[in-house]
C-alpha cells in the first residue's frame, strides 16, 4: 500500500482503466471505438456504462475482461495489468452463452472445475448453492434449451458467480428479455449484489435499468467513444424500477444523453 493510501485511507481501486484507446480497422474504414478512457471502480461498487449502440461500451468491457487488447493505455485489476482473461473477472454476455451439451448444473460447474484447490464434492456443493441463489434448484438437471430466456440468464449468472470472481462484468445481460422477467431479475441482482458484494460493471443502453442497479452511472458518447458525464445514484436499496424517485434520476440522465446525441449530429 502506498503512503498516500495509508494517509488518506482511500480504498484501493478494484479496476483502473488508464487512458485506454482502441480503434477497429477494416479495409473500408477505421472506427475510433474508445478515445482516452480513464475510469476507476472501487471494491464492491456497482457501475453502469450507458450509451447509444456503437459507443464502445461493450468494447471497454471486453478489454477489462481481457478478451480484447487496447491499442493504447492499460487496465489494472487489483494493481496488476490485465493481459488475458482471468477467473477473477467473469463475464455475463447478452446471449446466455450456456453450453447446450451440459445440463444446468454442468454449466454452473464448468468454471468451478477450472478453479484449483477445491474437491469435486465441494464444487458440487458450491454449484448447488448458486443454483439455489438464482432460484433454479428444481431445474439443475434440465437441458439448456428447456429453459426460458430469463432462466437461461439466471443460470448464466450462477455460472459467473460460482467461481467467486472479484469482478462481474455484465454485457447487456437482460436486453433480450421481456419487461416482466427483467424486473424480476433487477431485484434478484440487487439481492445477490447486497449479499455477495461483488464489484460489478454493467453495460446497458437502458437508462432506467442503469439507475435501478448502479451506484454510479457513466454516460458514453460515440464516434469516438468517450466518457461524457458521471452520475452518482444515491437512492436507497432495494430499488423499484417503477418508483418516482428513480424515474426522476433516469429523466435527468436521459436528457443528458439526448443532449450529447444532438451535439453529435450538429458536429
Amino acid at each position: 500500500m502506498s503512503l498516500q493510501e495509508e494517509l488518506q485511507g482511500f480504498p484501493p481501486a478494484k479496476l483502473a482503466v488508464e487512458d485506454v484507446s482502441k480503434w477497429f480497422r477494416t479495409s473500408r474504414q477505421t472506427v475510433h471505438a474508445l478515445d482516452h478512457i480513464s475510469l476507476e471502480i472501487a471494491e464492491g461498487e456497482f457501475v453502469c456504462l450507458v450509451g447509444p449502440s456503437g459507443c464502445g461500451k461493450s468494447t471497454l468491457l471486453d478489454i477489462i475482461a481481457g478478451l480484447e487488447t487496447p491499442d493504447e493505455g492499460r487496465v489494472m485489476a487489483d494493481n496488476v495489468p490485465v493481459v488475458n482473461p482471468g477467473r477473477h473477472r467473469l463475464v455475463m454476455f447478452q446471449e446466455s452463452a450456456l453450453f447446450p451439451w451440459l445440463d444446468v448444473i454442468g454449466n454452473v460447474m464448468f468454471g468451478l472445475k477450472l478453479k484449483p484447490g477445491l474437491r469435486n464434492k465441494e464444487r458440487l456443493e458450491v454449484a448447488k448453492f448458486f443454483i439455489q441463489l438464482v432460484g433454479l434448484e428444481k431445474f439443475s438437471k434440465a437441458h439448456v434449451h428447456e429453459l426460458s430466456g430469463g432462466m437461461k440468464q439466471r443460470v448464466a449468472l450462477a455460472r459467473a458467480l460460482a467461481p467467486n470472481p472479484r469482478v462481474l462484468l455484465m454485457d447487456e445481460p437482460f436486453a433480450a428479455l421481456d419487461a416482466l422477467t427483467r424486473e424480476q431479475l433487477y431485484s434478484d441482482i440487487q439481492r445477490i449484489w447486497q449479499k455477495r458484494r461483488k464489484t460489478i460493471l454493467f453495460v446497458t443502453h437502458n437508462v432506467r435499468e442503469a439507475v435501478c442497479l448502479a451506484d454510479r452511472v457513466i454516460l458514453f458518447s460515440r464516434n469516438p467513444g468517450q466518457i461524457r458525464e458521471q452520475f452518482e445514484i444515491p437512492l436507497p436499496r432495494p430499488r423499484d424500477i417503477n418508483s418516482i424517485a428513480l424515474a426522476e434520476h433516469a429523466g435527468k440522465i436521459t436528457a443528458a444523453l439526448k443532449g450529447h446525441l444532438e451535439g453529435e449530429v450538429a458536429e
Binding site: G86, V91, F99, P100, W101, L114, H143, H145
Partner: protein, 255 residues
C-alpha cells in the same frame, strides 16, 4: 409402432407392384426376376452360408476402413480448423480429394498394392478420410464464437478448451460428418469389391459382380437388397441413437 406398421405397409405395396409388373409379362424374366425368385435366391444363399460369409467379409472390411478413416480424418479436421495455414494447405487438399469419386482410387490402389486386402482397405480409407476432414473442419468453424469467449473468460485454454468446449460444441457437425463418412466408406468398398478380384475374401460386391457374370438377375437384385438393408440398419443402430441424444440435448430437430 404405428410408424413401423406404415413402413411395412409401404414396402408391401412396393413388392406387390413389382409382383404384378412381372406377372404382366412386359419384361423378360431374365431382366426382371419375380420377387419370389429373388426370395428363393436369398433363402438359398442364407442356407448354404454364402450370404453370411460375404456379409461378414464385407462388414469387417467396412468397419476397419471406416475406423481408420475416422482415426485419421477427425484429428486432421481439427488441425485444419485450428489455423489459417492448415486450412490453406491440408484443407484445400482435402476438399480436392473429397470431390474425387472413390472409384478413381482403384486403378492406383491396384498398381500400388496388387489384388490384395490392402488395396481394398486403401480405397475405403481414401473414400472416408476426406469427407470426415471436411465435416470436422466445417463443424469447428461453425461453433458460435460466444462459446469460445465464455470458456476463455472462465480460464479454459489449450487442451481443456479443445476437449471440453470445441469438441462437444461441434458434436452435431461431427456426427453428420461421421455419417457422411460412413456413406462414403460403403460406396468405396462396393466399388472396390466389384472391381478388385481377390481370393482372400468373397464380399457382397463380389457376389454382385458374379451375379452379373452369370446373368443371374435374381442374385444381383437379392444382393442389392442386402446392401440396402445393411445401410439402413447401420443408420438406425449406429447413428440414430446418437442423433436422438443430440436433438434431445440441443433442442433441435423438433417436429
Amino acid at each position: 409402432m404405428r410408424r413401423l406398421l406404415l413402413a411395412t405397409l409401404f414396402f408391401a405395396v412396393l413388392v406387390t407392384g413389382w409382383h404384378f409388373l412381372v406377372k404382366a409379362g412386359i419384361y423378360s424374366p431374365v431382366l426382371l426376376p419375380s420377387p419370389q425368385s429373388v426370395g428363393e435366391y436369398l433363402a438359398g444363399a442364407v442356407r448354404d452360408g454364402t450370404l453370411w460369409q460375404a456379409t461378414a467379409v464385407t462388414v469387417r472390411r467396412l468397419l476397419v476402413g471406416y475406423f481408420i478413416g475416422i482415426l485419421i480424418g477427425l484429428p486432421l479436421g481439427l488441425f485444419t480448423s485450428a489455423s489459417k495455414f492448415m486450412e490453406d494447405t491440408i484443407g484445400v487438399l482435402a476438399l480436392g480429394l473429397q470431390t474425387l469419386p472413390s472409384v478413381c482410387w482403384i486403378p492406383l490402389a491396384l498398381l500400388w498394392f496388387g489384388q490384395t486386402e490392402s488395396a481394398m482397405l486403401f480405397v475405403v480409407v481414401m473414400g472416408t478420410v476426406w469427407s470426415v476432414v471436411i465435416a470436422t473442419d466445417t463443424g469447428v468453424r461453425n461453433i458460435p464464437p460466444i462459446f469460445a469467449r465464455a470458456a476463455k473468460t472462465m480460464g479454459s485454454t489449450g487442451l481443456h478448451k479443445w476437449t471440453k468446449v470445441i469438441l462437444p460444441a461441434s458434436l452435431p457437425f461431427l456426427v453428420s460428418g461421421m455419417k457422411q463418412g460412413w456413406a462414403f466408406a460403403w460406396r468405396s468398398l462396393m466399388a472396390a469389391e466389384i472391381y478388385v478380384t481377390i481370393l482372400t475374401g468373397f464380399g457382397l460386391g463380389h457376389l454382385l459382380h458374379y451375379g452379373r457374370e452369370l446373368n443371374a438377375m435374381e442374385q444381383v437384385i437379392g444382393v442389392m437388397l442386402v446392401i440396402i438393408i445393411i445401410g439402413l440398419l447401420t443408420d438406425k443402430i449406429l447413428f440414430s441413437p446418437v442423433e436422438r441424444f443430440l436433438h434431445n440435448r440441443w433442442g433441435t430437430g423438433v417436429r
